[in-house]
Symmetry: C2
Subunit: 195 residues, 2 copies
DNA sequence: CTTTTGTTTAACAATTTTGTCAAACTTAAG
DNA sequence: CTTAAGTTTGACAAAATTGTTAAACAAAAG
């Protein structure tokens, strides 16, 4: 059963991810995906069996790659401050490319009912939270529930990218202006987190 | 052409808003909306003509009520610090009730192509930005592009509510725990914004 | 060159979702 | 009570979306 690998399967999946994560078309039809990929629609069924199967696969891969990225950054043995700096750099870069990835995950969880419970996850998260707590004890960052620190950090990174279309209108900015603003945030967030 | 007003039209609209804004079902079908409202599906067409018309109306009302809320808070003559305190209180309360309202607006803008350009808006926003700038000049808040200050503020308020399903899993928290955490944020955000 | 196997396509079928309509129903007015 | 007007319902039609199949096609193997 040797596969000829024309790259079509990957092309369809990548195109779907682009529509979902980059363009925010969270409910694109198979036709829209096929058109954007420049392939016949039935190939979606040929490679993925069904629309739902494609969505599920994209969902799982999105979740996995998001968590893997976070794991890599969080589990590194860098000093804390450097680790956060790295996290900001990596996360911001990925989120600028795929601003709606987390939204896709969340709305998918809301519309279907996803049951997720990875025990291993808890360990890693707790280790990170404890490290934050330790930094607070040392007086390096303001004292609060470490979960707040984490949420603050990710909020500051992700939300302005999600709300970009709205912000551009409210602030009267074009794409170029807004990109400059987003670039500035890397340092800004670091300074906000470490006063 | 006296209307009998059985409240059905409003019920359908309110139910749709609940599904969209509160439950995050951003693409509910007319059947799902009708079921949730406990009415016959054809009433959606009777009162709103088409699914698209219902979505458009909800979209416009969402946008309007969001902007009105912001206007009221922002244009008040309170001292700046108090104004922000009030903004946090009002916005957080509304967002806890309708966490996905802004997302609905944004994804709707992404999937359709909405042209929006209210000149009046720009004036109000600029006035607010200038007020922030003035506070920075006085040394009351850290110096930065006032747009950053604004984005920081809204990010800290909105994002943890949007990502609640994901955070509950990652942090291993139930709904009650998470609500407590969200309540804490009112003060926390204020303190983060005013160091 | 022929065969084999995987890929792509178009036509078709099935399903899902939306929209229409006439009849039944309800309530207020005459 | 009867009428009139708005409301609700179910049956049906239309449209949109998804899924299936057989045939055409392309490339590697024999």
């Amino acid at each position: 059963m040797s596969t000829r690998d024309t790259g079509t399967e990957q092309l369809i999946k990548d195109t779907a991810k682009h529509l979902f994560f980059a363009e925010g078309k969270l409910h694109a039809t198979t036709q829209e995906i096929a058109d954007a990929a420049g392939v016949n629609r039935t190939l979606v069924n040929y490679y993925f069996r069904s629309r739902d199967a494609l969505f599920d696969q994209v969902f799982h891969e999105a979740q996995e790659s998001l968590l893997n990225m976070l794991d890599e950054v969080i589990e590194s043995s860098m000093p804390f401050k450097q680790k956060i700096e790295n996290l900001i750099s990596v996360f911001l870069k990925e989120t600028m490319h795929f601003p709606y990835r987390e939204l896709f995950i969340i709305t998918h969880m809301n519309s279907n009912d996803v049951i997720e419970s990875k025990k291993a996850r808890g360990k890693k998260v707790n280790a990170f939270l404890e490290q934050i707590q330790s930094e607070m004890d040392k007086g390096n960052i303001r004292s609060m529930n470490p979960r707040h620190f984490t949420m603050n950090l990710f909020s500051l990174m992700a939300y302005p990218l999600v709300t970009a279309p709205l912000n551009k209108i409210l602030f009267g900015m074009n794409d170029a202006d807004y990109n400059i603003l987003m670039e500035e945030r890397k340092n800004l967030i670091f300074e906000t987190i470490f006063p």
